[in-house]
Amino acid sequence: MAAETKACAQSVKDLTDYDIHIGDLNGGLWSSDELSLVFGAVVSMRDALFGGKIDAFRVKIGTVTMYQSAENNQKAFFSGSDKASAITSVGGWLSSDTTFYQDSFTHGDAFFQRTVVHELSHAWDIHSLGGAARDLRLATGSNWKSGEYQAVGETTAYGRTGDREDWADSVAETVYNPPSKGTDLKIDPARERLVRERAR
C-alpha cells in the first residue's frame, strides 16, 4: 500500500471514531495532508469544548459526512450564501453533510482548520434542531430586525451576517481564540460562556 493511501486510510479511520465520514474517497480529491488537517481541527474542538472526550463530541455534533468539490465555490441556496467556500446542510435525520470547495484550501491551513470547526458547529446546530443558534440569540439579546440580523455584543464581522453564522463563528473563536485566554478578542465572554454551556 502506498504511503499516501495508508496515511489517508489512517485519517479516515481516526475520523470515523468521531462519527465523521468521508463521503467521496473514490473521487481522488482528498490528500492525506488535508485529511490530517481535518482530524487536527476535530481534536482541537474535542479538547477545547468536550474535555477530550470523543463520546461527548459525537453526542453533540451527530453524524457528519464530508465531501470535497473540485469547484472553487458554490451556491448554498438555502443558507442564502452564493459562492460559499464551504457548506453544511441537513444530511439525514439529525445528521449533516459538509462540502468543502477549493476556496477553503486557498487561505492557509489555519483558515481551513477554523473552517472545519465552523462547519462542524453548523452540524452541531442542525443536530440540535436549530437550538444552538436560538440559544445564542436569547443569551446575547440578538435578534432579527426587518430581515437583517441584529447582533448584540461583540462578534465577528461574518457572525453579524446571521444567527447561524454567529453561532458557528462563536464556536470557532472559543476553540482558537477564546475571550477567557486571548488578547485579540473577536467575540465577547457571553458568547464563549454559551458555547461552553451547550458543550456540557
Partner: protein
Amino acid sequence: MRTWSPYMPRIYAFILVISILLTACVQSKPPSPEPQVVLAILRQYPGGTLIEERILENNGDVTYRISFAVQTTPDAAIANYAPLFRAIGMKENPSRGPTLDDLQVDYRWTYYGCPYHEVAMTTTVQKLQLTYTYGPCR
C-alpha cells in the same frame, strides 16, 4: 399509473408562484463588490485628511483600518457614505456592538452575500474611523 387529483392544479400553481418569487429574489441581488471598489469609496471623505490606512489581519478574512482627521458627525458621515454603499448592494447592518479595539460603532453596512463585506464607522471629535472587513462565506 398516475391519477388525477383535484389538488394537482393548485399544487402546481403554488410551486410556480414560489419559483417566480425565489427567482425574483435571486436576480434582484447585485453581485458582491470588488474590494477595490469599496476601498475607493472609503478613501475619500469631503474635508477629511487620510491619516492612516493599514491591513490588520489576513487569515481568510481581510480587515482594513482607514482613518481621517476631520471634524464631523455620525449623521454627516452616514449621509456621505450611505448612497455610495447602497449603490453597490450594501445594506445597513443594525448591529451596534463594538469593533476592534473596543470602539463603539455608529453605523455598519454589510453586503449579505459572498464574499461578504462589512464596513463599521466610528466618529470621534477629531477623527472618522472606518473598519472594512471582507472574506469568503463558509
